[in-house]
């Protein structure tokens, strides 16, 4: 009986994110002119999954008390790469997909190596690698263009059983295949330990360096899945600095909204996914309530501001002010 109390306590942030998202989406769908139709859900899902994948990437690194400002860069780079190599025949496309994912892994590995071996701070490391990845993207696609293997793209952006968006199914698959095994593995738990207290983790013999490296590599992988999916959605590759920058910053917002602590050590990618979906839904809510699209960015910003201010509520529980200062 008391076990459930602990399970609930540990996953409270993720549950809250889920609830908030469901409420928001319900409001959105019920007020949508086209009603709660499969089409509406599919379009929303496709947009949301893009950010959700990048948010998942961010989560891996944030849990270790780091930050990855290159997720947007990997996102854009893999998008451009995919528009070159995920084409042609089915086997060629499959090889292309493998190439794209490998690139993501390599990008993550680069970040990990510089942070761990070079002992540079994650924030500046990833600012620099973001520029490198973006530059590589520009080499691949100086101007937008390219193509993608049709059947694959349609499959992932379409519907399954005529109702469920394939994008959500595949997102779910990624969570089941990548996130859950990771969170339950020794290296995943070590990542939480590192974020919570690197010193305690080291003194307890947890694999600190390995945990950090894997976190960065998986971040690259998730971001590349996002880039691949972007190619499926847009049927092209574009090296847009604006896209890269905004996805990076929005991924941080999504992660915070999803209950992942920026200080590291707690939170879940599942929460971050709901945070991303929430973030996307905010914009759509305005459309649905016929609010002037002019006001959308401001509204989005104000909601973000309110959401992060809620985190300040924990201040009221703190009775010894020294606890606020690490």
């Amino acid at each position: 009986m008391s076990d459930w109390r602990y399970v609930f306590g540990q996953n409270r942030a993720t549950l809250l994110a889920f609830i908030f998202f469901v409420v928001m989406f319900a409001i959105y769908a019920s007020n949508h002119p086209a009603g709660f139709s499969a089409n509406v859900v599919q379009t929303a899902a496709n947009k949301g999954v893009l950010l959700a994948l990048v948010a998942m990437a961010q989560t891996f690194v944030v849990i270790t008390a780091g930050i990855d400002l290159s997720v947007g860069g990997v996102f854009v780079l893999t998008n451009c790469l995919a528009s070159w190599i995920v084409i042609g025949t089915a086997p060629a496309a499959a090889l292309g997909v493998a190439g794209v994912l490998l690139t993501g892994l390599a990008c993550g590995a680069l970040n990990g190596l510089i942070v761990i071996v070079g002992r540079l701070q994650p924030i500046v490391t990833t600012i620099a690698t973001a520029a490198i990845f973006y530059g590589l993207a520009l080499i691949l696609r100086p101007t937008p263009g390219g193509d993608v293997y049709g059947p694959l793209a349609d499959a992932f952006t379409g519907r399954v059983f005529a109702v469920l968006p394939a994008s959500l199914m595949s997102l779910g698959a990624v969570v089941v295949v990548v996130w859950i095994p990771y969170a339950r593995s020794e290296v995943g738990r070590a990542a939480y330990a590192v974020g919570s207290s690197e010193q305690a983790a080291y003194m307890s013999g947890a694999p600190v360096a390995r945990a950090k490296f894997v976190a960065y590599v998986l971040s690259g992988l998730a971001a590349s899945l996002g880039g691949l999916f972007l190619t499926f959605v847009t049927y092209s590759g574009e090296a847009s600095a604006a896209t890269g920058g905004s996805y990076t910053l929005y991924s941080i917002a999504a992660v915070v909204l999803g209950g992942v602590s920026l200080y590291g050590g707690s939170g879940s990618a599942i929460g971050a996914i709901f945070g991303a979906l929430m973030f996307r839904t905010i914009g759509d809510l305005l459309f649905v309530f016929n609010l002037d699209p002019l006001w959308q960015p401001l509204f989005q910003g104000l909601v973000l501001l309110a959401a992060v201010s809620l985190g300040a509520a924990r201040l009221f529980q703190v009775r010894n002010r020294l606890e606020l200062m690490p």
Binding site: Y6, E186, Y192, A193, G195, S204, R319, N320
Partner: protein, 504 residues
């Protein structure tokens, strides 16, 4: 271990130290802080590497390059700074290295069973394996730390002041466990300051002083006085300055506290401190002494009760307010490295940090004036530093603490609160601090002084307040402050037939 040496910067932490431990025995290590005990333990458990020396296990030479390596060899250490990860559960922490795996993933069921077994072995069955460490109070955390160590099936178990945060009941339970482990063949290394614990547990004792092994003897063969002498290298009675006779004071006391309460850690505390008095706070660790000082200094929220300074009611809401002219408090904090100093900044910058108002005019720092005050402080406290521009982190522990005290003296406080100021400091500097405190009291300050060292309470304080479970158990005045009275009040048991202390 033989011939082990280690230096940190200019400080020789260990100089040719040696130690021999046998299986099935409890070996106690005594020594002042800074005598090298912690460094020796860190080397033995793989946290740091020695500059010189050998370690042999079962007659085979070994060297550990990480805590994991030492753990694999069967040497497990329970440190003072706990090695628990706050955001993970008890079970996760206990099995954090080498967890049971199933299909490559952590087997939670098996892990839980391991945790429950370990908790039972440590006598801590009231702790739920799924509880998060950060939600547990310090005494529970220490029990988890002990369980975690036991789960690793150690051959040598090292406890470095591991009982400091435990309640008396927990300590008794832990001792039962430790004695049972001794029967099972475990070798135990027990570092503590608490003579009565050592008397109960140890088979052998070793005394460390100035980085090397001064003496090893069988437990019970030396008196407490002899042991203390070995630890400090000189007669006990010469350490403390003379106490003045109690003087007649009229008017309100400089500091008066009435019915102070906070959370569940401080209950109904009332006492006063007059100008010229050194009032000591005693009792076992963790009975609210630290919280009391923090409450007075404005760090805690939700403090009930009344605080009066020179008769005027004040309620400091922050250290900034507590320091202000109308109140004039100073707090020498618990941990000089993280709370008292900004280590990368210079000695001079640290010294003037609490008194910036005194060296600035219109917000601009008057460098000449600052340099003069800094030089005066360095001389006054005999701070040994190559120059005032040296990084504070380069100074020895004792000198660092002097910088912290000097920093506050520059602010010319009337009420000085000290949170265990002589912990980890060499004996010579301790003496200087005792003399300084008496001089400050003589010049009109009221001093409230928390220390874990009985000798200091007896030697320095005009009055001593013994705290138990967040309330003042007993007040001892002058000659009433004896070790027996202190210990019995600390353990919340009645005093012997030698009279009673005043209960405030």
């Amino acid at each position: 271990m033989e011939g082990v040496s280690k230096r940190y910067g200019g400080v020789r932490a260990l100089e040719n130290a040696s130690l021999a431990i046998g299986a099935g025995r409890i070996h106690a290590i005594l020594g002042e802080n800074g005598a090298g005990k912690s460094t020796l333990i860190k080397i033995l458990s793989g946290v740091v590497r020695p500059d010189a020396g050998h370690i042999a296990l079962d007659d085979a030479e070994v060297a550990f390059d990480s805590p994991a390596a030492a753990i694999r060899a069967g040497i497990v250490c329970i440190f003072q700074e706990l090695s628990l990860v706050p955001d993970l559960s008890v079970a996760d922490n206990i099995a954090i290295s080498n967890p049971p795996l199933r299909f490559g993933l952590i087997d939670r069921q098996a892990q839980r069973r391991i945790a429950e077994a370990a908790l039972e072995r440590a006598g801590a069955t009231d702790i739920h394996p799924m509880a998060l460490i950060k939600d547990l109070p310090l005494s529970r955390r220490q029990m988890v730390e002990i369980a975690k160590a036991l789960a690793r099936k150690p051959r040598i178990l090292i406890l470095d002041e591991a009982t400091s945060a435990l309640t008396a009941a927990d300590v008794a339970k832990v001792f039962v466990v430790l004695k049972r482990l001794r029967e099972e063949g475990l070798a135990l290394l027990y570092i503590s300051h608490r003579m009565h614990e050592i008397a109960e547990l140890a088979d052998e004792c070793t005394v460390f002083r100035n980085g090397s092994n001064v003496a090893t003897y069988r437990a019970g063969t030396k008196s407490d006085g002899e042991v203390v002498e070995m630890m400090i290298g000189r007669e006990l009675s010469h350490v403390f300055p003379q106490k003045p006779p109690p003087r007649e004071e009229t008017g309100p006391p400089l500091l008066e506290v009435t019915r102070l309460g906070w959370s569940d850690r401080l209950r109904d505390i009332s006492f006063h401190a007059r100008a010229g008095e050194i009032v000591g706070l005693g009792g076992l660790d963790g009975q609210g002494q630290r919280e009391l000082l923090l409450a007075l200094f404005g760090v805690l929220r939700g403090v009930s009760g009344e605080i009066r300074v020179a008769g005027r009611a004040v309620s400091p809401s922050s250290p900034h307010a507590a320091k202000s002219l109308g109140v004039g408090m100073a707090l020498i904090p618990e941990d000089r490295k993280t709370e008292g100093l900004m280590l990368p900044m210079s000695v001079s910058e640290n010294l003037s940090f609490a008194a910036l108002e005194r060296v600035t005019r219109g917000g601009v720092i008057d460098r000449a004036h600052e340099a003069k005050l800094v030089a005066k402080m360095i001389e006054l406290l005999a701070i040994r530093t190559a120059s005032p521009d040296v990084q504070a982190g380069a100074l020895s522990g004792g000198n660092q603490q002097k910088v912290v005290i000097a920093k506050w003296l520059m602010a010319e406080p009337r009420i000085i609160l000290l949170n265990d100021p002589t912990r980890g400091i060499d004996v010579a500097t301790k003496q200087e601090i005792y003399q300084l405190l008496r001089r400050l009291a003589d010049s009109g300050a009221a001093i409230v002084f928390y220390t874990t060292d009985y000798a200091e309470l007896i030697g320095c304080c005009d009055r001593a307040l013994v705290l138990y479970d967040g309330a003042i158990r007993r007040e001892l005045v002058g000659d009433e402050i004896t070790e027996r009275a202190l210990i019995s009040s600390a353990l919340n048991i009645g005093d012997g037939p030698n009279g009673e202390g005043r209960r405030p």
